[in-house]
C-alpha cells in the first residue's frame, strides 16, 4: 500500500470506532475547529468553490515539488471534511494525488457528501485539488523539458 493510501486507511480506521453518526459529526466538528482559518487573502470570490448552500475556499501552492493546500468552509461539518482532505493531500507531490484513488470518504460513510446532488462544494473541491495537482505537474514537466 502506498503511503498515501496508508493515510487514507488510517482515517477510515479512526472513524470506525464511532458507532453513532452524531459521534462522527462531533469528530468532524472538532477537526473543523482545529483547521486554521484560510488566509484572508484567499477567502475571496476568486478562491471560492461555490456549493450553493455552503461555501468552500481553496488555494494551493507548489513548494519544493509538494502541494501546499489552504482551505476553509463556512459550515463547520463541511470544514471537518475539508480538514480530512487537506490532511490527506497536503504536502504531497502532484503524482501522489493523481495516481491514488480517493477511497476514504466512501470508507467513513460520507459518500453522500461527495454526490453531485449535494450542494456543499466538496465534490467541486476534490476536483479542484486534483486540478491543482495536474496543473503543477504539467508545469513541472514543462520546466524539465526547458
Amino acid at each position: 500500500m502506498t503511503e498515501y493510501n496508508v493515510t487514507q486507511q488510517d482515517i477510515v480506521d479512526e472513524f470506525s470506532v464511532f458507532e453513532d453518526w452524531l459521534d462522527r459529526y462531533n469528530y468532524l466538528i472538532e477537526l473543523g475547529n482545529d483547521l486554521p482559518a484560510i488566509d484572508p487573502e484567499f477567502r475571496t470570490s476568486e478562491y471560492l468553490i461555490n456549493g450553493c448552500q455552503s461555501k468552500v475556499w481553496l488555494h494551493a501552492d507548489l513548494v519544493d515539488g509538494r502541494l501546499q493546500f489552504n482551505a476553509d468552509s463556512d459550515a463547520i461539518i463541511v470544514k471537518g471534511i475539508v480538514a480530512l482532505l487537506v490532511k490527506l493531500m497536503h504536502d504531497r507531490t502532484p503524482a501522489e494525488i493523481l495516481e491514488n484513488e480517493l477511497f476514504f470518504i466512501d470508507g467513513i460513510g460520507l459518500r453522500q457528501n461527495l454526490s453531485p446532488t449535494r450542494s456543499n462544494g466538496l465534490l467541486a473541491m476534490v476536483k479542484k485539488m486534483r486540478l491543482y495537482a495536474m496543473a503543477y505537474q504539467a508545469k513541472e514537466n514543462q520546466n524539465k523539458e526547458a
Binding site: 453518526w21 452524531l22 459529526y25 462531533n26 466538528i29 450553493c52 448552500q53 455552503s54 463556512d74 459550515a75 463547520i76 461539518i77 463541511v78 450542494s119 456543499n120
Partner: protein
Amino acid sequence: MIMGFNINQIRSDFPILQQQVYNKPLIYLDNGATTQKPRVVIDTIRELQEVHNSSIHRGIHYLSEQMTGRYEAARETVRAFLNAASTQEIIFTSGATGSINTVAFSFGEKYVNSGDEILISEMEHHSNIVPWQMLCRRKGAQLKVIPFNDKGELELEKLDELLSERTRIVALTHASNSLGTINPVKEVIKRAHARDIPVLLDGAQMVQHGEVDVRELDCDFYVFSSHKIFGPTGSGVLYGKEAMLEELPPYQGGGDMVDQVTFDETSYNTLPFKFEAGTSNYTGAIGLAAALEYLQSIGFEAIGRYERELSDYTLEKLERIGGLKIYGNAAERISVFSFLLDNIHTYDAAMILDKMGIAVRTGTHCTQPVMDHFGIDGTIRASLVFYNTMEEVDALVQGIQKTIEMLS
C-alpha cells in the same frame, strides 16, 4: 383531542411514515417541498396501471372509455374541491409551475403590451416570478412588486399606489412557502377588481392546509400542485373563470386541444381541452382526485382545527429555544416555520437533524428575494401537515437543542 380526528389512524394511512431512517423513526417535516401519499393514492395509481391503462379522449374501446370516465370524474372532484362553477374551468396541468406558465403565456399574449405592468409580491416563489419576468421581457412590460414588512405581512397600504391603469394582472401567493404567511387575498382581489384588474392566486402552499372556495374568493385564476396535497407528482390544476379562459389563446399546441386541423388552419377544441395539449397525465389527475377524496373523508374542518393546534404548539416551542430566530411572524399563518440558529450554518444543522431522522429543508426555498429582504443566505424550514404530531415537534425541539449543543 379533536372529534373524529384519529391521528394514529391517519398516520397508518401513509406507508412511508412507518419507516426508520438511521435506526430512528422518520420525522418528516419537509411537507412544503412535497407531501407523502396515503395508501389509497398509491393503490389508485397501481390499479390504473394494472387494470385500466389507456389513452383518454381517443379510443372508443372499453379501456379508453373507462379511463376517460375516470379522468373526467377527477375533474369533477377538483371542481367540487375548489367550488368552481363548472368543470370547464378546471384545467389539468403538470403542476402549479405549469399552470402559472400557461396563464403568463396565454393571458400575456392576449392582454399584455409594451408599457403594461404585472404586479406580484416580494414573497413569491420563483415560479410566480420568473414566468412573469419572461412575459415582461417578451412584451416590454414591467414587473412591480408589493413589499412585505419584517413580520412577513404584505404592506397593503402600498397596494393602491402600485395598482395603476397599466396593471394588467396581479399574481399573488395565497400562502408563503418560506414565511408561512397567509395573505389577505380577498382584500387584494377586492381592490384589484375595483379597477377591473384580474388576480391569479398561487395556492401551492394553501390547499393542503384548509378549504379553498374560488367563488367566495372571487379570484380569476387559482393554481396548485397535486404532489403538495398528497397526490402524485407531475400533475396540477389551473382554475380559471370560464369567461376569462374562453378569451385566452391556447398555450401549447398538439393533440386533443384541436377541433379541425389542416395545413392552412386549425380550430381549437372547447374548454377545458383547449388548454390540455397532448396526452394528459391522466394517472396524475385521477391520483389527485383520490387524494382529495381521502381528505374529504377526514374532513377539512377537522384537519384545519388539528393543524391550528399543531401550529400554535410548534410556534410556542420554537420561540422558547434560546438563540433561535423565526423569520415570518404574520398573524395569519400556515404550519410552515423558517428559522435560523445563532452562529450556526443551516447546512450543519440540517446534517445533524437528518441523522436524528428529522427531515427539514434548508436554503432559500426558491424565494431568494425573501432572503434578500432579511439579508440572509437561507433558513432552516420545518413544514408540517395534518399527519405530523406534537411528539414529532418535541423531537424537533430536542434535535435543535442537541444541534446547538454540538455546534457551539
